[in-house]
């Protein structure tokens, strides 16, 4: 069951003669646990696509299924709730509120969820520690560097435990060192099991991703899995069978292991690929 399923998504801006086709019937599927980079030149429609995936904008045509629910044409309030609980957005220009200190910024999604004040502060504090800027909790945005601000923005995106994190050019306003730090942070978050989509036009950054989607003029021109992604994919396939259990198996114990090995064997025979090395490691 994929996390995101886009089918025939199109987006038109403007009217009549001034109209432009930002997205041209895009279809895209993203699974849970992927770390997807969306690459392309300016004007290719990547930001528009992110906005639609992040429910900030509505497509002109097409269907969008997020976590098995059709979300493309939701009412604004329902969309807001999904943005709050399921999606975390990280912007290029951080988009933190300058009037609030860092911890208030980070706990803002919790305010809208109705969490009590003390609990909010605790959760925000924990998240800030995880991203590494807990000593700057009570500072204001105008007192922090770009890298720290983006870390705070990422913390804010994480605070509601979203299923999906969307980052629109997260390193766009950062210097090279801060960029690396931020990408490392995102990688760490990905490794913890989150699904991340990020937009970039810096090809260097694609090495962090498990999959790269190339866009041009509103269409996806290429969609490939990176080497990093390939490892992840295979590991998943291996792990999947052992997760299936019946009640009997729980009681049986060893027989479960035996059954697993049998299943892998049969799968191996189907695919006709020698994986003896991996099996022996097990």
């Amino acid at each position: 069951m994929s996390l995101i399923k886009l089918e025939g998504i199109s987006k038109i801006f403007g009217f009549g003669d001034a109209s432009s086709l930002a997205l041209d019937s895009i279809s895209l599927t993203i699974e849970k646990g992927e770390f997807v980079a969306v690459m392309g030149p300016s004007g290719s429609g990547k930001s528009t696509l992110m906005n639609i995936i992040g429910l900030l904008d509505k497509p002109s045509q097409g269907s969008y299924m997020l976590d098995n629910k059709y979300v493309a044409r939701l009412k604004p309030n329902q969309a807001a709730k999904i943005r709050r609980d399921t999606i975390g957005f990280v912007f290029q220009s951080y988009n933190l509120l300058n009037r609030l200190n860092i911890i208030s910024n980070v706990s803002l999604p919790l305010v809208y969820k109705g969490v009590s004040s003390s609990r909010r502060l605790k959760l925000a504090s924990d998240i800030l520690e995880r991203v590494g800027i807990s000593e700057k909790e009570y500072f204001y945005p105008n007192q922090l560097s770009g890298g720290q601000l983006q870390s705070a923005a990422i913390a804010r995106a994480l605070i509601n435990n979203p299923k999906l994190i969307i980052a629109d050019e997260p390193t766009g306003n950062l210097d090279s060192i801060s960029s690396i730090l931020i990408m490392e942070l995102l990688t760490e978050i990905h490794r913890a099991g989150n699904t991340i989509i990020f937009v970039t036009h810096n090809p260097e950054l694609t090495r962090y991703a498990s999959r790269v989607v190339y866009m041009k003029d509103g269409s996806i021109v290429q969609d490939e899995i990176t080497p990093y992604g390939q490892i992840a994919k295979t590991a998943k396939q291996l792990l999947k069978p052992s997760l299936i259990r019946t009640e009997e198996d729980s009681l049986a114990g060893v027989s479960v292991l035996m059954k697993t090995i049998d299943k892998i064997d049969s799968r191996k025979n189907k695919k006709d690929k020698p994986k003896k090395n991996r099996r022996s490691k097990k």
């Binding site: 807001a80 709050r84 803002l108 809208y112 109705g114 969490v115 009590s116």
Partner: protein
């Protein structure tokens, strides 16, 4: 909406309002002025009503009555007694005989005739060509709830001596710095001796009672003497002890009998008379309050104005909030909290200003405005409501934007 969210909006709104305080000050000035005017006017009305109550009633007002030759409804209603008396032809059916006869009645505490003359009144340093002379008896003092500063009032019924009691203002005008006690006061060519000076009496607007501070009081018999028995009794002040209905009806039949079985004398309770002036007062207060409320509406429009500007300035911020999951209702709540705080602060300042203005009024006029706690609560409440009403349009406007459009504006 969870309370914790409202408190966080509250704190944020306070911060924002403080940061734009100069702009907000000019904005809420409308509410301040509007609310303080309405509160002041209602307070003045309250004060006057209380003064009427006190002046006319004092204690045990339910036992005080006025006997008059015409029904109260048909005559003057809330205007100056003297002015209205000039319009009534002097065919009064009251006479001193009534007074005598009624005094002996069971359950009658006191009865005083009330006769008014206009005459030239002269003191040692000045004279008043249109002096007001009141002919009555010793019970008048108690009935009217006035008191003597120095000297004494008319002593007894049928006082043969020519003593006069004068009000404070008249004393100052006719006698200046010297104490007038024992001095001669000339009333229409007749010499009287000043035997008492009254304490200052609060004169109430819309009251029917004449200005006692500028009047001379003499015994009714003397009034008859100096006018060759033409001192008409316009009304009689009656105080009874108990057992109202019975006493009143027997008095009424007595009066009818005296006047040849015609029922053209009326006994009216004092509170009914003040009822008319209270009615007028209420009407006037309401009218002026409505006019003053218009400025409250203007104040509300001012708040709406500044909130619209605030919303436009913070479009980007609204976009961010929506992007991280704020629903329309939560955005609306945020701005409503802000606008109600703004108007509430205006309300508080307005009420404080009203207190200050009322203090000024007390110090410089005879009116004592009264601000009850109910008035304060209602005023405070209305200021919040104004903020909610006039802030709702900008708030709804703020919430309607699509997140992506809001984010696009810088």
């Amino acid at each position: 909406m969870k309370p914790s969210a409202i408190t966080s909006h509250f704190k944020l709104s306070l911060d924002i309002i403080y940061n734009t305080r100069w702009r907000n000050f000019w904005t809420i000035l409308g509410i301040v002025i509007g609310l303080s005017s309405v509160v002041t006017i209602i307070a003045i009305g309250n004060g006057i009503k209380q003064q009427i109550n006190y002046q006319l009633n004092g204690s045990s007002s339910q036992n005080k009555f006025i006997i008059q030759p015409v029904a109260i409804n048909q005559s003057y209603s809330g205007t100056n007694l003297i002015k209205s008396l000039e319009n009534i032809s002097p065919t009064s059916s009251l006479s001193y005989l009534d007074v005598d006869g009624i005094q002996g009645f069971k359950n009658v505490s006191s009865i005083s005739p009330f006769s008014i003359l206009k005459s030239k009144v002269s003191g040692s340093i000045a004279s008043d060509r249109n002096g007001v002379v009141i002919g009555s008896n010793q019970f008048l003092l108690n009935y009217l709830n006035i008191s003597v500063n120095s000297g004494s009032f008319i002593d007894q019924t049928g006082d043969p001596t020519n003593s006069a009691v004068i009000g404070q203002n008249l004393a100052e005008r006719l006698f200046g710095e010297i104490s007038p006690l024992g001095a001669t006061i000339d009333i229409g060519g007749n010499s009287f001796v000043v035997e008492g000076i009254l304490n200052p009496v609060n004169n109430i607007p819309f009251s029917q009672i004449v200005d006692f501070n500028n009047s001379v009081f003499i015994d009714y018999n003397n009034a008859q003497k100096i006018t060759s028995n033409n001192a008409y009794i316009y009304q009689e002040f009656l105080t009874i002890k108990d057992n109202q209905k019975q006493t009143l009806s027997s008095l009424q039949s007595h009066l009818n009998a005296i006047n040849g079985n015609q029922s053209n004398t009326f006994i009216t309770n004092l509170s009914e008379i003040s009822y008319n002036s209270k009615n007028t007062l209420n009407l006037l207060t309401k009218l002026i309050s409505i006019v003053a409320s218009i400025s409250l509406i203007v104040g509300g429009v001012g708040i709406m104005n500044v909130m619209l500007v605030s919303v436009a300035e913070r479009t980007h911020e609204i976009g961010i909030r929506k992007a991280i999951g704020a629903t329309n209702r939560q955005i609306v709540t945020q701005f409503l909290v802000e606008s109600s705080i703004l108007s509430f602060v205006g309300g508080i300042i307005g009420i404080t200003l009203a207190y200050a203005v009322d203090l000024f009024i007390v110090l410089s006029t005879a009116i004592k405005p009264v601000i009850t706690w109910q008035l304060v609560v209602i005023a405070g409440f209305s200021s919040i409501v104004i903020g909610l009403i006039f802030g709702s349009i900008p708030a709804i406007k703020a919430a309607k934007k699509l997140p992506i459009d809001a984010l696009r504006s810088s």
